[in-house]
């Protein structure tokens, strides 16, 4: 897992909130510590250190590490007495919140997040008063972030158990160190929200015919390059097709859109004389290039090594090479069994086969997309913002979030509103039935949550003087116009 240069952030970012009078400082939630342990590795007294497989920050004194791990162990053990099947998930304290997760038997991951706080300076040189906002962060959001950490580790390394089998504790700690050292730097706890709970996939809207063309392309490539086991197809960082199973795609999608794609700028947008502009190979102009593996096929020194990923296969897992190949805005991921060694010849064959077709397809999609946009009318700034999520296919759509980058995900609404969305989501999670919740926020905004079958829709409306009935009508209208091809049971 590689980290972009911009993405280092550990301490809370302070934001001046009030311009008048005394300066008040607000601190966003931040990561205090993150550790992984297995109680069965050091059951006897004096051997506690053996339990700890990874600890961040690493410069914490050994005894403190042991104390913290021991505390977590004790809490989990203690709470188990109340409900043996559902161990504790989080511990709320005034200053921070701890999240526990047991992804594999006896392996525990713990994440400690410092609560957001406001620092109020006092007169007369007294130390500033600190006000912890312990209710501002949501268990669902950070619980999901913790699970995502594990999923990402597993995608690139397989399970903890696999490393144990291959090389014991020593190998596992090495792998954990290597992976989490970098990964934790990319966690941006201050900008985690409802979307992390969903962990959804944004799908590219596409007409049926173009979609079928892509199907045809994928099938043809898989037929002529029989090594390819699975293919995924994305456009504009949005998914169109996945041959992988849903859960694997979910985490791969996360990796592609928050890490791999943002690291590669678009050379096809570069000027004519830019060194980034792709070369014209023979008479056949195409814009295809490898995002993983060799940067330049013509380079005699080029290495044909690709990242390996692990996906689920029935009761076990499957190790695959991940080839990501991109032409303009279209990206195709080809997954090939890791037992096969990939050669220059194969890469050249893939490049010459896929490059021209993918280039053509990318311009087809772009054209079709523009036609559809023209039909649906000019882009008017809508009077509302929404998040949509479908549990069945993990489809998510948000007009609240700006483009996600490796470093930070920006929202266009106030954090208070995001918190309300998160709260509504928690309410929905408690019951199975379809529900609708309408909230009038302090700031004249209306927030509407709608849950229907497996789908959830959250709308934020800015209509100061509207009453409940009008808001309800408005949302109905939105559903009819904006989501007309999605069923809502009424």
């Amino acid at each position: 897992y590689e980290v972009s240069a911009a993405g280092v952030c550990c301490a809370g970012i302070s934001v001046p909130r009030m311009a008048t009078g005394m300066q008040e400082k607000q601190y966003t939630p931040s990561l205090l510590s993150f550790f992984i342990y297995n109680p069965s590795f050091g059951p006897r007294e004096g051997e506690e250190e053996k339990k700890i497989l990874f600890y961040h920050p690493c410069d914490v004194e050994k005894n403190e590490k042991i104390r913290n791990v021991g505390l977590c162990e004790a809490i989990v053990q203690f709470t188990r007495t109340f409900c043996p099947t559902k161990p504790a998930k989080s511990l709320h304290t005034q200053k921070n919140r701890q999240f526990f997760f047991e992804p594999e038997d006896n392996f525990w991951i713990v994440m400690v997040v410092r609560n957001p706080m406001i620092e109020k300076p006092n007169k007369d040189g007294k130390p500033p008063t600190i006000e912890y906002q312990e209710e501002e962060i949501l268990d669902t959001v950070y619980g999901a972030v913790l699970r995502q950490c594990y999923s990402m580790y597993k995608l690139f390394n397989g399970t903890f158990g696999r490393a144990m089998e291959a090389g014991g504790v020593e190998l596992l700690t090495q792998k954990l160190e290597k992976f989490f050292y970098r990964y934790l730097q990319t966690l941006h706890l201050q900008s985690c929200d409802l979307l992390d709970v969903f962990g959804g996939i944004s799908f590219f809207p596409l007409d049926k015919m173009t979609y079928l063309k892509i199907q045809s392309f994928v099938n043809r490539v898989e037929e002529s390059l029989s090594l390819v086991k699975y293919t995924a197809f994305l456009y504009n960082d949005q998914l169109i097709w996945s041959g992988l199973e849903q859960d694997d795609m979910r985490i791969l999608y996360k990796y592609l859109t928050t890490s791999l794609f943002p690291r590669h700028s678009e050379p096809e947008l570069a000027g004519r004389d830019s060194p980034l502009r792709p070369e014209v190979a023979g008479n056949l102009l195409h814009y295809g290039r490898f995002l993983t593996g060799p940067a330049n096929l013509k380079d005699p020194e080029a290495k044909f090594r690709f990242p390996k990923i692990f996906v689920n296969k029935e009761d076990s897992y499957e190790e695959l090479h991940l080839i990501v190949y991109k032409a303009m805005s279209a990206a195709a991921c080809f997954m090939i069994s890791a037992s096969v060694e990939l050669t220059r010849e194969f890469c050249e064959q893939l490049d010459s086969l896929v490059g021209p077709q993918l280039t053509l397809l990318a311009s087809d999609i772009c054209e079709q997309f523009n036609i559809n946009r023209r039909i649906s009318g000019p882009d008017k700034e809508p009077q509302f913002k929404f998040i949509y999520f479908n549990h069945m296919n993990l489809a998510e759509k948000s007009t609240i979030h700006m483009r996600k980058t490796a470093s930070v995900s920006l929202t266009s609404v106030h954090p208070d509103l995001m918190k309300i969305l998160g709260d509504i989501n928690c309410d929905f999670a408690r019951v199975d039935e379809d529900e609708e919740i309408i909230v009038k926020a302090m700031t004249d905004y209306w927030v509407v949550g709608k849950k229907s079958d497996q789908r959830e829709l959250y709308v934020i409306l800015n209509q100061k003087n509207a009453n409940l009935i009008e808001v309800n009508e408005e949302v109905k209208r939105l559903c009819a116009t904006q989501f007309n091809n999605i069923f809502f049971l009424d």
């Binding site: 799908f203 049926k208 079928l212 045809s216 037929e223 549990h391 296919n393 069923f487």
Partner: protein, 645 residues
Amino acid sequence: MSDEHYLELCDNPVQFENASSVNNVFFDEANKQVFAVRSGGATGVVVKGPDDKNSVAFRMDDKGEVKCIKFSIGNKILAVQRTSKAVMFCQMNLQCVVLEVSCLCFVFRSLQTKNASVLGFCWTNWNEIVFITDQGIEFYQVFPDKRSVKLLKSQSINVNWYQYCPETAVILLSTTVQGNVLQPFAFRSGTMSKMSKFEIELPVVPKPAKLSLSERDIAMATIYGQLYVMYLKHHSRTANSPSAEVVLYHLPREGACKKSHVLKLNTTGKFALNIVDNLVVVHHQSSQTSLIFDIRLREPDCAVNTHQPVLPARSIHPYRIPLSGPTVVPSQPAVPCQLYSSSWSVFQPDIIISASEGYLWYLQVKLPPTVNLLQDKGKLMDFLLRRRDCKMVILSVCSQILEGGEKGSLPVVATVFDKLNQVYKEYLEAEQTYTLAMESGPSRGSAAQKRPVRTQAVIDQSDMYTHVLSAFTERKGVSHKFIIAVLMEYIRSLNQFQITVQHYLYELVIKTLVQHNLFYMLHQFLQYHVLSDSKPLVRATPQPRLSTANDEIVEVLLSKQQVLGALRFIRSVGGHDNVSARKFLDAAQQTGDQMLFYTVFRFFQQRNQRLRGNPAFNPGEHCEEHVVHFKQLFGEQALMKPATV
């Protein structure tokens, strides 16, 4: 190696008494009748047509050697020519009372063409006849009752020879000294119209000028509904043409005749031409083989109007003269027939006559052997789609390319599907235009619309499903990846031609995906509405409205008796807590499979236990009859009892 003979003689030839010193044989191209005239007609004239209706036998007085004998259309009037100056008419219902009108006819014409000799005559209607003399062409109406003829039109012109195309009623006259200026005339109910003349380019211009274009080298036929004059251009050492070719001149009803196609024969020698199923067949005598050309098939590496043979040269399928027949003794074995015999006469469009053996055959194209001779499947489809009896062959080609499963066959599959659907779409559009025109009522001014003819080349979704796809998806040893790829390719092609996809194709995709537990793929297809337009399916089900695509899939699976597949599916989407148990139990009971019923029943009992802590069904679920059925099959004790705590 399988049979490669793609041409054959028909099984039921017209048999007649073979030509001999006492028996003269004539063939009339217009009525396709063979006349066997024994002893000048005195001992009988036997007429055999393509079917028994056209077969007659009669006697007439021997008044000299018959030069030509033909019935008018519908066997109404018989015309017999015995001398170069006279033709006599007689009417069949008069029991062959001979009506000599020839004198009258030529007395009438004698002022202008005193010394004209009759080259021949053609009936263009039941009572209209055209005489071609060396000095012109004369068009008459015959009144047998009045025993008179009336001149309708005539034209003076020096004629070397003529050709007649009965299908279009066009007569072609060879004029000028070299004979290469051809003058066509068209006839239609009492009118004769002169079409524009045209000149055939001769390979060598002889000096001094002499007749250089033989009637043997010219034939007329309709190909794809258009009239063509075919010129067999022999190779000539002086004119720098290494091999012979056939030059086609398109002869439109109106407008000038144009040289339109050149068929390269790539050899020299004696040739004969036939037209079968809109293919130009060129027989080559010395090699005893035939070539076929399709003028609609474009050659990528040639100029647009130059054609190479579609297939390698092959001989006509060996033919054995059958045992049964009037002239054959039953104990005699079948005799192999000598093909490409010098005694063969070839007539347009598809007739081969062996006068010495007394047979008339229709030449036929056999499509199955072409499949293995034409490797390029796209070209093969283009070829097959234009043939008359193509349907089963096309379907077998489809099955064959799916069976092969060779690498890189998907693009071929796609090409083939696109070609089929192109034709299918054209038919659907024609049908729709027709229906619209009928609905809006017969509008004045526009000619009455003809209902479009559905040819065998229209391969619709039901054909593909029944003969190709259904069996293909069932076949063992085919990877499901390939099956899905093929089905999606077909759906893509249908969409590309904006043809509404039939629900059973979607069902096939759904079934295949479910069988391989590929639920996520299924979801993705639904998401992009690739499988969602199955309206008839939704309407066919008794429920008022199916709310989600999931319900639809369950309905499909249940209707296909895939009860476990449906259960697995609904569980995969987490909907099994809310589905109606009754629906599944009904379906399971209908299959008659007791173990299946048991499994489904237990599944829902366990669900009830999990949801309500009791395995029994709620009264609202209306499963009482299923409980009874279960008890009958497996006994009371097999029912799950509520867990006692």
